[in-house]
Amino acid sequence: MATYDFVFSSLGLDDWCAEGKSNAPMSMAQLLSKSKGEETTDVSIWELPFPSMDALNKACPAFPQSRELTKGLEEGFLAVKDGLSVVLDPVTQPLSWALDGALYAMLSAPWWIIIPILMAVVFLVSKSWKLVAFVALSFSGLAFIDYYEYAMQTLAIIFVCAFLCVLLGVPIGIAMSRSDNLQRGMIPILDMLQTLPPFVYLIPLIFLFSVTESKLYGIAIILYAIVPVVRLTNLGIRLVDKDVIEAADAFGMTARQKLYKVQIPLALPNIMAGVNQTIMMSLAMVVIASLVSAPGLGVLVLRGIRNLELGVGLVSGLGIVILAVILDRVTKASLARINAAQKQ
């Protein structure tokens, strides 16, 4: 005898209820109550349960339990998984190659080539000797305490993922800036990607791809980090001075000329701010992605947590901070140079 018996009896569904039997996994509480042979008795109004799936199931065994909802979702996902993999696997395979290639290149080249190359890149982008010295010092320090290899793995993953984020994110942002409808559709998706807890990305990806494949963490990082570059490209192009756009029209620019000669150059400060954010977010995600076999400093952090190796955890955490500072300063320095060149 359950609280909501009357619902089914008044609807004349008693027969249907009697036929069915929920086949959801049994919970511990149910098992206990069953073994004790307790019968639910009439409850006072204070203890009236919400007419939830479970409460209704008590009244009518044919009614599904809430556990069946999550189970159904899981089964549904597993059912489409194979079909999805057939499409997604080949499409995302280049990501695996890119990540494996970058990791191989960064690790197989000797340190006395990689560090100077990184210094040269920093100088080209920022034109600041102070920053170059900081980078040289940081990497030498990390190498000295034998964290060089981990730092390079992290860096390689960030390079590949941030590059792909820009490659995909800028065109998406441009498309959004041109169509209000697309913008309306994209903003909820971007909001969701940005607010979804990072761990949640990993769950469906683990089902879709093998944990041994590097594209698993690559996709997780890209999904998480692509948002700012898309948003800021869209915003930057929408904020381009209307007068300059009008001048471009008045002198007869085509849509393509306008995009390449006016909109992208004038939106560049905003786009670069997006790239900076994207790089910082991929760094944040690469640590979490070590849960699904992403190599690098995150693995050491994880080891620190799992084995309670306090020192390893702290030092690798510091290494991540140093990488973050370097990446942030270098992208900000290049952003400052672009800003200086196009003050209005």
Binding site: D243, E246, F251, G252, T254, V262
Partner: protein, 352 residues
């Protein structure tokens, strides 16, 4: 000398709002701007505009803000599409142009100068000047000589490799003018081109424009809210109010015979002696008398004649054009032309 009509606007209407066609019908039946906004929630931009702009002349369109002057100039290159009406350039109806033809028109036959300069901040002065050519597919080396020539002509020699933000407002607008000149287009649209500049620089720029016009004889459409500027530059003056043409014609003519209280109000504050010219107030040649105090040109303004006469109202001057005697100016006629129009005295009384 008869001139050709370069740009001809006929029965042009522009109504802003969700259903302009409905608004147009109401406007045609005589609804005015305020009523249209209140009852139909549509904004009347332009109503029944008919203007002919002559080849090689400066046509000035003057009006206060909200009078529709900026809307009107944007119809000439179809940055704004009209609700109804006809725009002919060199006799061709540009409303029938497809996208390609319209682009060619904007690239090769028209150039535009903007109030806020609208230069590309990431390009040098030289590249900005050559923008129109660059859009047509020329490279910097193709237009460099041309761009340098025009930059020098507008007084920017030596600034070629600077960026716009390194220049003052006046210099930036010189780049804007050079950009329009480098395009070699016969028509120049100038949208409040000098309004953002301070008065001294504005006066310099007006002189520069007149000087260039003397040499180039382009068809210039100039928008302004400043009557002094309009009178200084205009060969043909069009006065707009609430989207309608109140009066148009020779600026001297408008000044002497204002057709509307609105215009009378407008012209009451200007220095008539400086704006009016001898040709507008002189009498026909009079063979009987030969005692003249001196020769003056038909294009002198009355202020310079006053200066020459030293205030003596009994004098008369011989008016000459290219050394030929074409008329006579009595100082009393001059004084009569300087009498302000009635409405302005009334307004002065009210103010006092």
């Amino acid at each position: 000398m008869t001139k050709n009509v370069k740009i001809s606007i006929k029965n042009l209407y522009k109504i802003f709002g969700p259903t302009p066609d409905v608004g147009l019908e109401y406007v045609r039946r005589g609804m005015d701007k305020a009523e249209l906004l209140e009852k139909q929630n549509h904004v009347l931009g332009l109503r029944d505009i008919n203007v002919d702009m002559q080849d090689g002349e400066i046509t000035v369109i003057m009006g206060l803000s909200g009078s529709g002057k900026s809307t009107l100039i944007r119809h000439l290159n179809r940055l704004i599409e009209p609700t109804d009406g006809e725009i002919r350039i060199d006799g061709e109806d540009i409303m029938g142009y497809n996208e390609q033809q319209l682009r060619t028109l904007r690239r090769e036959r028209m150039s535009m100068v903007f109030q806020k300069f609208a230069l590309l901040p990431h390009k040098t002065v030289l590249e900005n000047a050559g923008m129109a050519k660059n859009i047509r597919g020329y490279t910097t080396s193709d237009f460099e000589a041309d761009a340098r020539k025009w930059l020098a002509r507008v007084g920017l020699e030596g600034n070629e490799n600077q960026y716009p933000h390194e220049l003052s407002g006046g210099m930036q607008q010189r780049v804007g003018i050079a950009r329009a000149l480098v395009s070699d287009a016969p028509i120049m649209l100038m949208d409040e081109a000098f309004s953002a500049l301070d008065p001294l620089i504005r006066s310099d720029m007006q002189d520069l424009l007149l000087e260039l016009q003397e040499e180039l004889q382009k068809t210039i459409v100039f928008i302004t809210h400043d009557l002094d500027e309009a009178l200084k530059l205009a060969d043909h003056l069009v006065i707009l109010k609430d989207g309608e043409v109140v009066q148009q014609g020779d600026p001297q003519e408008i000044l002497l015979n204002p057709g509307d209280p609105y215009i009378v109000d407008f012209i009451s504050d200007i220095n008539r002696a400086r704006v009016l010219r001898v040709r507008s107030v002189m009498a026909q040649r009079d063979n009987g008398d030969t005692s003249f105090a001196g020769d003056i040109s038909e294009n002198d303004n009355l202020e310079s004649v006053l200066l020459k006469s030293e205030g003596d109202m009994t004098l008369r001057f011989r008016v000459v054009r290219d050394g030929e005697h074409i008329g006579t100016l009595q100082m009393t006629d001059l004084a009569r032309a300087l009498v302000p129009t009635a409405a302005s005295t009334e307004r002065n009384k009210n103010a006092a």
